[in-house]
Point group: none
Chain length 203, copies 4
């Protein structure tokens, strides 16, 4: 499987730098990280980074863009075959927290650093994030049409509430670092609250 790719070394320099950047940004923060830190972590010269990325900010934005694509694809796959809107909500929560657990440093960068950036939040429109969350809003709408979800809830409002709840718990997980914190329990907690909170009738 891996023997087939002769020039992976070469192609991977983009990848190499990106992964190094995730590690460094997670550890030192975006503004606290120097380009030379990223270069060192990637094992390349400072200037090399500029052959692959326009500037420091482009590095951050590329992390967002590329990783969100993967996240999005993974989410869609995870939701495949799950029909019931409320089941989909639970699946979404579990998927999200599993990603946070499996890609802790990436999560840290996406959450803390990316959202910190004034530029990111105010000038750059994180379309990919909206697409990701939009899937949740769509679930709500579907449930409303099917009659299983209350219609007095604005899907957008619910979407932000859901995302915020997950995000904050992820943040606490990241900050807790080595302490007890079950992301599966977190997923269930969020899922249960929202499923009951949004359902037309609680069983």
């Amino acid at each position: 499987m891996s023997t087939q790719e002769p020039n992976r070394e070469r192609t991977d320099k983009h990848e190499l730098i990106l992964e190094a950047a995730i590690r460094v940004f997670a550890q030192k923060g975006f503004s606290g990280a120097r380009i030379s830190d990223v270069a060192e972590a990637a094992g390349v010269a400072d200037g090399t980074i500029y052959l692959y990325f326009k500037n420091k900010e482009d590095l951050l934005l590329t992390i967002f863009e590329e990783k969100m694509d993967l996240l999005l694809a993974g989410l869609r796959q995870a939701l495949e075959g799950v029909e019931d809107p409320l089941d989909r909500v639970r699946t979404f929560a579990h998927y999200h927290f599993r990603q946070v657990r499996d890609h802790r440093e990436l999560a840290e960068v996406l959450q803390i650093e990316l959202r910190l950036s004034n530029k990111f939040l105010k000038e750059y429109r994180p379309e990919k994030l909206w697409t990701y969350l939009g899937i949740f809003a769509d679930m709500i709408r579907a449930g409303q049409e099917q009659g299983t979800i209350r219609t007095d809830v604005d899907p957008f409002m619910a979407m932000w509430a859901f995302f915020g709840a997950m995000d904050e718990m992820s943040m606490q997980f990241i900050l807790a670092r080595h302490r007890k914190f079950s992301l599966d329990a977190a997923a269930d907690t969020v899922a249960n609250i929202f499923i009951r909170g949004l359902s037309k009738e609680s069983a």
Copy 2:
């Protein structure tokens, strides 16, 4: 001349600088704001700021400390006389969103600039925020004891979920700036979801 007002002058300047810092940080972001910007906004010399605050970061932390004290006091007052845990949840939500609306710049600083700061989250322990949110956890515990709230929910988990939901909606409100966004509707949405989501039996 100055003997009559022993420390009014001092207190005023402390306050003056702090309020200026909130305005400037909200507008330019913490790292984007220069000390000289704050000084200018406060109508004092750059050096004067260092007579009242240790450094730039101290300014940010002091904003957090002092404003959280006020927020906390306000929250306790708002909850006074509200006995039922689930009613208290709704009151909390309304209080929180009202503060965001009435002190938008402060909210912007606390949320975007401060809470997302690497240093703040990782090194500094935001005790006051925990106290603020702890009040929510206490509500849950009270409800569980009274039998109105499900006991399979960890109060801490619920607390973070609740805070995250409110926080994210506040963030969207701040980012939306001049567009339609009713914070009262937001408060009700969050309150309804959590009240139903946490209740033992839905009415």
Copy 3:
């Protein structure tokens, strides 16, 4: 005379830096000179330069602007009382070369470095230089009206030719550095050629 100025030290920092810059630019060239070289030569910190000048280029342009003002004032004074256009030509030449001799480093900067700058020549309009040279063109016109100077010569063309001749000889003087090179002889040579070359009738 000098005891009357109490805060010269303070006011002179602008001057101090400017003079240091002239020395450094003359020696290392504009692009070869580092800001830190100028700072060191002026005995101030790097950052101090930016309190008085916008950037490196501003330093160069300010040298030009301020020194041209002095040159211009001096030229006007030197020409005072000299009525005959052809006499004025000779006076101009002598004045110019005397300045080059007395302010060799400044001359070097103005000639070599300032004119080298693409920006200076193509974007910045050296109005002061034109004013300086315009005085020569005016002499020609006056002589043409009085009938002492040939009317088939375009004053502008003559002006550039005159300036070029002086400039090149100044350049050679600067480059010659420690060798024999009489600027007075140079002034007379140029003056003689142009006076004879421009006169209606040679005596």
Copy 4:
């Protein structure tokens, strides 16, 4: 395959790069031009330039050396058959300005970028330029021996004055770019001034 044309290929690429460099240097200036700009303009890789030239400066110096050879050869040819020293002066002026007009980009590089360079003037001895101008000094000497040119003029001084006058007018022509500026008129103006200015008796 390559045995038939031993060094055509090589010469072509040398030439190719040199011509590209002239275009690029004229447009962006020497320091503003990147090696990669020259490489792109020449249609070769960056590294290839270093197979033909030692470094960036060598490129500039080679332009000077090779083009001055051509200029010199052309001047000698233009002067062939022109015997009278004063006629030769006029011929020189016309030849010079014609070259500026016909090789504007080269002129721009030689004058602005090269001649004004600190390094060029101070460290590198532009022998070829001296040879070119020496021809003018020789005219003066010849005229002085024949009795048609004043003997109180130092040929070297006159040479620099003449060159400076032509150079400055060329510079104005280059800077004027698209505006009216007759180089023939310029040539006549300079020639007339110097011929009259240097002649023993004006006709």
